[in-house]
Symmetry: C2
Subunit: 351 residues, 2 copies
């Protein structure tokens, strides 16, 4: 039976990179007889410009009805002064919420042939293999907020950070199960020496961990984790944390692991899963056909693996990416003397 993938390109380079990934998916679909169909939908600043909303109802319905969603990227300075409720970012935040995507999985690995792209010394970063499990539909991202109010005679704004026990249980369980398939170690990151929410997080994580005696749970403060990622990144196996800390730490980890242009992610939950590269919409290079499609192509591989249990096809894509890189193809962001300069299309063809 045909499997439907809803493709949401978004803004900036979103169109180019999702096109590239769809091309690869079509190729692999032929090869492995996966019978995939694709349907494109609008979201982000471009959707706002066209329809007055960054996340049209039609897009949400299509995503819910799909077997998987492939997402590009949203955002851009041109929409900086739009009403906060209509910002391009609302598209991805709204999709995460509507689809109940409570977990964002961001694998941080670096191929041997790319170790030199890491800003870290080779001996520090070699062998890095982290899975960041970020809570994605709770915390301060979705707490009550106030853009402006008067208090004691002054204007202020606020956002509520908050987590409930079931929200923490759900994500920590997933982290534990993820660790069981890896190296049986989970680092739970919080700021329990300052935040009440973190203290609830920590005691809940400890309770959940009791049911997984084979997995070692370590608690770490977020400031310390930001340091440890830079000095001992290979010590980590699975990192589980809240929405905001996950945003910061996963970007730091991604860049330490090499190029952010290479990093995929999977968001999973109660309904359709969504796959997106972790980089942004890069408006400065949009439309020039030079964006690195690899983050999105590897997200497509995660899609095949997690949503369609098509492990062989996923592996084939991952191998093809590795081969293209070993063969010396490099998009502009990674180009150095002695390599083969490739634009988006050439890189995609090589893969």
């Amino acid at each position: 039976m045909a499997k439907k993938i809803v493709v949401i390109p978004g803004d900036g380079i979103g169109e180019e990179i999702t096109n590239a990934a769809v091309l690869v998916l079509k190729k692999i679909s032929d090869k492995f007889q996966l019978d995939l169909t694709f349907e494109s939908h609008a979201a982000g600043g471009t959707a706002y410009d066209l329809y007055g909303t960054p996340l049209p109802e039609k897009t949400i319905l299509a995503a819910k009805a799909a077997d998987a969603v492939l997402f590009g990227a949203v955002g851009g300075a041109v929409w900086d002064n739009v009403d906060p409720a209509l910002r391009p970012e609302k598209a991805i935040l709204g999709l995460r919420k509507s689809l109940g995507l409570y977990a964002n999985l961001r694998p941080i690995k670096v191929m041997d042939c790319l170790v030199e792209y890491s800003p870290l010394k080779k001996e520090i970063v070699s062998g890095i293999d982290i899975m960041i499990v970020r809570e994605l539909i709770g915390g301060i991202y979705f707490g009550d907020k106030c853009e402006s109010e008067m208090k004691d005679g002054f204007e202020r704004a606020w956002d509520l950070e908050n987590y409930s026990v079931p929200e923490v249980e759900r994500i920590v369980k997933l982290a534990m199960e993820t660790a069981q398939k890896r190296n049986n170690k989970v680092t739970s990151v919080d700021k329990a020496n300052v935040l009440a929410t973190s203290r609830l997080w920590r005691r809940t994580a400890t309770k959940v961990a009791a049911s997984y005696p084979d997995v070692k749970l370590q608690d770490m403060y977020v400031d310390n984790c930001a340091m440890q990622l830079a000095i001992h990144p290979t010590e980590f196996d699975v990192i589980v944390t809240g929405n905001l800390f996950g945003d910061i730490l996963s970007d730091e980890a991604a860049v330490l692991g090499g190029s952010i242009g290479l990093m995929p992610s999977a968001s999973i939950g109660e309904c359709t899963s969504l796959y997106e590269p972790i980089h942004g919409s890069a408006p400065d290079i949009a439309g020039r056909g030079i964006a690195n499609p690899i983050g999105t192509i590897l997200s497509a591989a995660m899609l095949l693996r997690h949503s369609f249990a098509a492990e062989a096809a996923a592996l084939a894509i991952e191998k093809a990416v590795e081969k293209a890189l070993l063969d010396g193809y490099r998009t502009m962001d990674l180009y150095r003397d002695g390599f083969k300069k490739a634009n988006t299309e050439e890189m995609t063809q090589a893969i």
Copy 2:
């Protein structure tokens, strides 16, 4: 007229490192006839054990009456299960609040002879010179919080992130003035694509910046900043940000700049200023006389400069630290083959 420094050693290695710094201050005081007096006061987990509170009233009063405060470090796993209101961290948080220390200045620099200690490649980190200006008595650290309540049938906890316009104005002004004495560039870090508080922060920063036409203001998302610090750290001059983001980013920056054991900080505000190393209390090595005293000794140099306008004396300390390092002295945290292994006392003597 004699100047009084209140010394608050705190927990763990706090005693050893503040002792070292006081020794250096006494020496420099003799040499430059500064006429310093010292008075030691309790705080942190040790104060809690002795007096049932991490921040005795006597300590607060002494700090307020002093000309400057030299602080060690607080915290330790033994106090993890203490009532949140009585945790060791309340000592430093309470002192910051009582003294109105709204700005924490964390210079991130790396001496040429220490570049190799950075986890970053030499060509990326060489020449790094950042001043992080962190808001210190507002934001989610001091917003209302709730350890546990029932909502919709589930237990949850929450913390309120919030900033008022005057709070942001004050810290951004300071950042602007700091940049005027440096390279005229301020990066204001927020998460304005998600948080209402960040949007107020950003519009206020933009307004303040209008009065400093010679300073270039750049806005940056916190996740992007966590990346840029790792790949382009030398692009930054002054970074200004809120309490929580400042906590995370300054620790990341410190470790990228080399050893966190070397980094000093100054907290300034409406009353007495406070100086402390940015590292923690390191309970695992406490009492063994092997802690690196340099972060605290350089904090003492900042104290002389900022609180007593004793620039020559401050410089003398900084030169002495550099000399000891150039001479090959290394505490355990930095020791490598071919150097002179020094414990806390030997390093202090060398300086």
